[in-house]
Point group: C2
Chain length 400, copies 2
């Protein structure tokens, strides 16, 4: 019998046993939303690639405008107009200017732009400029935003829409992304039935397999569901081996009977190695971790909220490991609106809701539905503590 | 010429002009992740549907255990075992108990359970019970979690993985979800080229159409991209009419030249009604809203970060309106690490990053890439304020 391990120990066992090179694939930029970046993105260009104006108006030589004002306008010859998308045909010399629109490319010789509202061009080829500008005023210089060779996005970032915009700006056509892990999900237990059916006396709906599948998809995985397997060892063994061969990792869950739990542990021991059996986390005690070949297999608790929180605490970090995802788990600090006791020696995950900016636990006596439907997220009470207290700031992990 | 409107006014114009019944469709529960719920979910069952144990041990009559302790165990006859997924064959009477596993259904006559660790059953059909339990101790009563007829999830909620779990628990096979809005995206501008190409002098990559498509997908839409249209009215008109007929709403963006902007406004006026032209928001001034038939059309600024923030401030709320999405825009309060000045009279959206728990602006002189790649989110400075100040708590909208 293996001893119960802490969550930290479980995470380090995952890291030690399943460290692997991240597998990547090329993905066209426009399809890479939410994917994990598998390479550093280095700009091979200056952005902008040329000096350009940030206003509608006239491209000028700043020096020609010095001293100009409402009552002493500078008089400049308009030598042409810079069309969008085109390079000026000629440069400008002293005393000259060219009409230009926002984003337009400064002509040779020009180093600033005067806004339309500070000019008057109703004088047959002459522009009156009523305001002086300094060099590079109203101009974005070549490379101001990004310099050639600069690292713009790091490997391990998740591609949000704004980062997709960054890739477009750099002209990146396709990116190496981590392959989506394929997760196999097996529910076990004689009492477990498809959630679409009405439970007879003593039966329980299979919530875990759909809940875990959704959670894995939320975290960038693809999922194969292997259905519900009764507590018969041969049957479970066959499906287990099939899942292990087809998927990158497998989540077994469901059977809350002692028999079902033992069977899972037994099969894992026989087909591979049991890394731990028992997790010092509430809820989540009957958690199992095994290694078969180079792959991890998780035996999750039967109770859906326990399975859900163990998946959040162990499986999601493991998926991040597989994909090289370096994003921090986003949490925000909020003060507690009440004391929440806990037991020393094991970590507690507590469902919470935020009311008037304060954190309150969502209790439910095995109240799965209320726990899942009424909470905004969860907090983690460290195993070295005996509770957290009213007014204390705590990190809240949001799940909505 | 229409006057410039505030963001609040723009939002209320959207609401007044495009109020519509939310269109829904039936979606199998297992495929409904991230969809907007189009109906209230009322439980038509009690959950749990029967009294059940929360521990492994023995189902007992609580009264039979009163006074029991380490030195004075209650002696109970073991009359059988309750198998998972099955109803007990018989009930229990005074002085009797039955073996039971976590989640098992209490037999008739039993009202509590004693944990295995407080019992000793090595005595030929007799169970020594070393601890007294009160009625319903270690038991979840029928309907404890959810009562029949109770509203469990409200219309307008977004189905996170935990809410998918809730639907499974209730046995909901399929749900009415809001149809995904179909958004048409058109980029305009002579200077705009496909982002995959290398810009010649004066040209600019089309970032907007891919960035906006990604943002719309992040917000639950489907997208048709109509490509980049040069500043030629007939061509833009044709594509515009096609997009308006095919999609639920259309985003025009790109051309930052005055000509391109005027053309967009002109076409909208001719084919429908211009609701405003000019938004009191920085960035975002050259924003246009039009109504063609019953559909909204947005003319977004050419600068990608302006287009992005206007889309966040106006288009995303509009999409939420179309889908009946009632989720609050999640934001968290953080203190400012510095002053950020702003102009009275217009709202400012400022890209920010969080460093050591404090909010700092990400500045960039038209620095699109740095703005988008380095920010954690944004803050909104109200148009009635002239900046926000060091130490002040402000609401941060996270975009990562």
């Amino acid at each position: 019998m293996l001893s119960v391990v802490s969550v930290e120990k479980a995470l380090s066992l995952l890291e030690e046993n399943f460290y692997a090179q991240v597998k990547t694939e090329a993905v066209p930029t426009e399809n890479a939303l939410s994917r994990v970046l598998g390479e550093d993105i280095i700009s091979d260009e200056n952005i902008p690639p040329f000096d350009r104006t940030t206003v509608d108006g006239f491209a000028v030589r700043a020096a020609d405008t010095y001293g100009a004002g409402e009552n002493s306008p500078a008089m400049l010859d308009i030598t042409g107009e810079i069309l969008m998308g085109e390079r000026a045909q000629t440069g400008i010399s002293r005393g000259e200017c060219m009409k230009i629109s926002t984003g337009g490319m400064l002509p040779e010789g020009s180093d600033a732009a005067v806004m339309t509202e500070h000019t008057d061009d109703g004088f047959d080829g002459i522009c009156l400029c009523m305001k002086s500008v300094s060099p590079f005023e109203n101009v974005t210089k070549k490379g101001d935003d990004v310099k050639q060779g600069e690292k713009v996005l790091e490997k391990g970032r998740v591609l949000s829409s704004s980062r997709i915009g960054v890739l477009c700006a750099l002209g990146v056509k396709q990116v190496q992304c981590a392959k989506k892990p394929l997760v196999g999900i097996i529910s076990t237990g004689d009492e477990i039935i498809d959630f679409r059916n009405k439970p007879a006396a003593g039966q329980i709906r299979d919530i875990n397999s759909v809940l875990l599948a959704a959670l894995m998809k939320e975290n960038g995985c693809e999922v194969i569901s292997y259905g519900i397997i009764k507590d018969r060892k041969e049957e479970l063994e066959d499906i287990f081996l099939q899942a292990m061969s087809e998927c990158d990792t497998v989540l077994l869950s469901g059977g809350s009977s002692k028999g079902a739990r033992d069977m899972t542990a037994e099969i894992i021991s026989e087909k591979g190695e049991l890394l731990f059996h028992g997790l010092a986390m509430k809820p989540g005690k009957p958690t199992i971790l095994g290694k078969c070949g180079e792959k991890a297999v998780f035996g999750l608790p039967g109770h859906p909220s326990a399975a859900y929180y163990v998946a959040l605490r162990l499986v999601v970090p493991f998926i991040k490991m597989l994909t090289g995802n370096k994003e921090e788990n986003i949490c925000h600090r909020y003060p507690l609106g009440t004391d929440i006791p806990s037991n020393h020696g094991r970590e507690e995950v507590v469902s919470v809701r935020i009311t008037d900016g304060k954190v309150y636990p969502v209790f439910g006596k095995s109240g799965l539905v209320s726990l899942l439907s009424e909470s905004d997220g969860y907090i983690i009470i460290d195993r070295n503590r005996e509770g957290v207290f009213l007014g204390e700031e705590t990190e809240v992990y949001f799940t909505k």
